[in-house]
Amino acid sequence: MTCFDVELTVNGAPRRGSVEARRTLADFLREDLGLTGTHLGCEHGVCGACTVLVDGEPARSCLMLAVQARGADVRTVEGLAPDGEMNRLQEAMWDSHGFQCGFCTPGFLMQITALLAENPGPTEAEVREALSGNICRCTGYESIVNGVLLAADAAGSDE
């Protein structure tokens, strides 16, 4: 089977690989680049655990082929705290007891990152709607919503 060269930027660093056309972006990130922070919960685009940012927009990495990400700027959960210092969103989630088992967490964090970039002061209803494509089986969502609102507040008070 033909392989394709894939060059892209992941968390600010140039990365490359050679993949079959059928390889999903999620498998490329996890298996080829070793970025196992991105999780696979359903592999058919419903649960949102594999959400990453592609050129700043949230995308399901299980619904993208690695070849479709050629030249793209991809951000994953590993890119949120590059120096080991948790960012404001991560701190807010820690304070809010946002998550439990942690499996859905990377997808939520990336979706929320996209939300707050576009809408730094969302209402609770906007937060819930923006997160409606990410399934958490543990928390009942309230702690996650609280974490988003806390992160937005923290950002607001810095300005």
């Binding site: 922070g37 998550f99 439990q100 088992c101 942690g102 499996f103 089986r137 928390t139 009942g140 702690s143």
Partner: protein, 782 residues
Amino acid sequence: MQHIAERYTGASVRRSEDPRILTGSGRYVDDVRLPGMLHAAFVRSPVAHARITRIDVREAAKAPGVVLVLTGEELERSLVPGPGIAAMFSGGAPVPAFTTLATGKVRVVGDPVVLVVAESRYLAEDACELVEVDYEELPAVMTPQAARDPASPAIFEDLGSNVLVRSPVAVFGDVDGAFARADRIVRADLRQHRHQNAPMECRGVVCSFDPESGELTVHSATQGVHIVRTTLSTALGLPPEKVRVLAGDIGGSFGLKLGAYREDVACAAASRQLSRPVRWMEDRLENLTFSGQAREESFEVAAAVTNEGEILGLRVKMTIDTGAYPGMGTMLPELVKTMIPGPYKIGALSFEWTAVVTNKAAYVAYRGPWASETWVRERMVDLIAMELGMEPIQVRLRNVATRETPPRRMVTGRSLAGVTAKESLEAIASTVDLPSFRRLQAGAREHGRYLGLGMATYIEPAPGPLEGKGGGGIMGPEQIRLRLAEDGTVTLFTSQMPHGQSHQTTFAQIAADEFGVPIEQVRVVVGDSDLVPMGFGTGGSRAATMAGGASLHGARALKARVKEIASHLFEAGAEDIELSGGSVAVRGVPASAMSLAELARAARSPGRLPPSLAGDVEVTAAFDGGEGGWSGGSHAAIVEVDVETGQVRVERYVVAEDCGILINPAIVEGQVRGGVAQGIGAVLLERSVYDEETGQYLSSTFMDYVLATACEIPRIEIEHLETVPLDADVNFRGVGEGGMIIAPPTLCNAIEDALSPFGARVLEQHLPPARILELIGAIPAG
């Protein structure tokens, strides 16, 4: 905003799990990478019930990247026959004969038939498509009614029948007398629907056999490493000490990941055969179709009641659909029987049950597996109230046992010590302000808006009163080991296997308080069968009391040991030793202070201590649950039903819960909210649907098995009642299952209340929009 408290216990301490989870550095089984690792996939049955007439794997074996293809018969040659984990949860019911991969017959869609091991999962799936299996289809037995039909083909020939158990009638109290005295008999046939755990992480395993040492190392997503070790060592004929089971972060389970499954056994055997690591990650299709489902039970209930609303007695006949392969289905009815009176003074009960086998996925444990007792009882209370024209809460308050008045036991014999059902009912009634809600409801109806209020109450054995039965409920006492490491940290080894419950935080809180060190100096080690004490693992809401109590007593024992060592080193009386701020000193002699690190090193230095104290500073402790006790509470929901579309919106959800002393309020609330969300999902969204003609499974993706999102789950208001200390030290109780146990009846009661102008009676637990319209007669029943 780290909360600085004098004591960690009782504070919403930030979780020690979070730094890794929030940065993508958690380690789940799918993240394990071993050199030379291979990938497994299974050829699974596309039909519900059939004889296998031919299997041809020749093309698959030649496919690119394929290393091994095994049929059931081939695999069986390397295994020790036996029921595996099935016998552990059978409750004494007959366990049929079956093989790890299906041989002779398939019994459910998704039954594993052939194992393919290849260089990648992609290649393994390619090869699976090349395996040819011929099936001679048999009629699919898809309902308890069909299973009861003597003409239905036996799913397991050795059982001879699809009726697995027909229990004798158990009678508690004077049932005939209660029904003779009753003013009315309220009858209902109640149905729970099949739904399932669906943790966000599917099952998975990486098995690595080392031919040099003869040791099998297994990375598993599991609730308990030792059950996996037991099942794998038994199936493979390996001594238990040659099997090491490791577990890292677990992406949820809710009862599903108990022990080694058939796929795990197959992968372990393949690794032994190949001397290479073999990984299998269940995909979502496999998970929803095959791994397990729960809750499919039906009940014929008759309640003997007085016109004043007193419940004199219950007659209950239960049927449980255990699916095709043994899971937990035959263990539960006896629990349901014992628990069905709940916190009520119901004076008489007769209970009988039938368990059947069908061509559906195995009945597995799911968060509060015995929950039907609460759903049935709390549904009956509302039906009784409707019959009598009373407010349901009046019926509840009239019948619940209180702390002041006898009886102190359920009619089935269990102690009701410390039950606070009355207090929690009064709390929720006050929070929702029942009279003003009824006014609001009446006003809304005039404008065509249908609001409803539902309440329910429950108790949960977490672990339940001890009652001299050896302790720890059905799983026995909980052991723990603590060691003072040479860097002065306290390392706590537990058999608990957290999968979201935050044990690495809560046990550290308890141990840090009791031992007297900062929480950062306590490390909680889980998930290594060679290191942690033998135990069941996490389940049954037992961690808080059992392992929390063991942590407390273990830390106390370690502290005593440290003082004893210090008294030798300082040549002072143990009672004069002070332990604080990470060091020990003779009271009143600050200059004597020695850090815990120094003490640990001194203990290990030859000759410094008598033999009984020399060496590692380590203690083991076990806890039997102490005075135990119930957790429980009452919930209320306010819903609005759109009677044109059948859509239900949960407008408000109120909880008054009593799990004793809170170790970490934020973690308790997370457990409550998560359980409630699953209960709301069960009623409004989730159902495992089979085509009853063909046996095909219709809910095999997340498009069809629908889980609640942030848009369906409301904010959940929680009040904590920390009411009754029973034990001298350990009064925290489990809270993992309660929300899922009580949310379904709470919501069903609210929906029935909303639909009361239509005279609707809710006799089933699953109420999707189409069913709502059927119940009010807007559309014909489908």
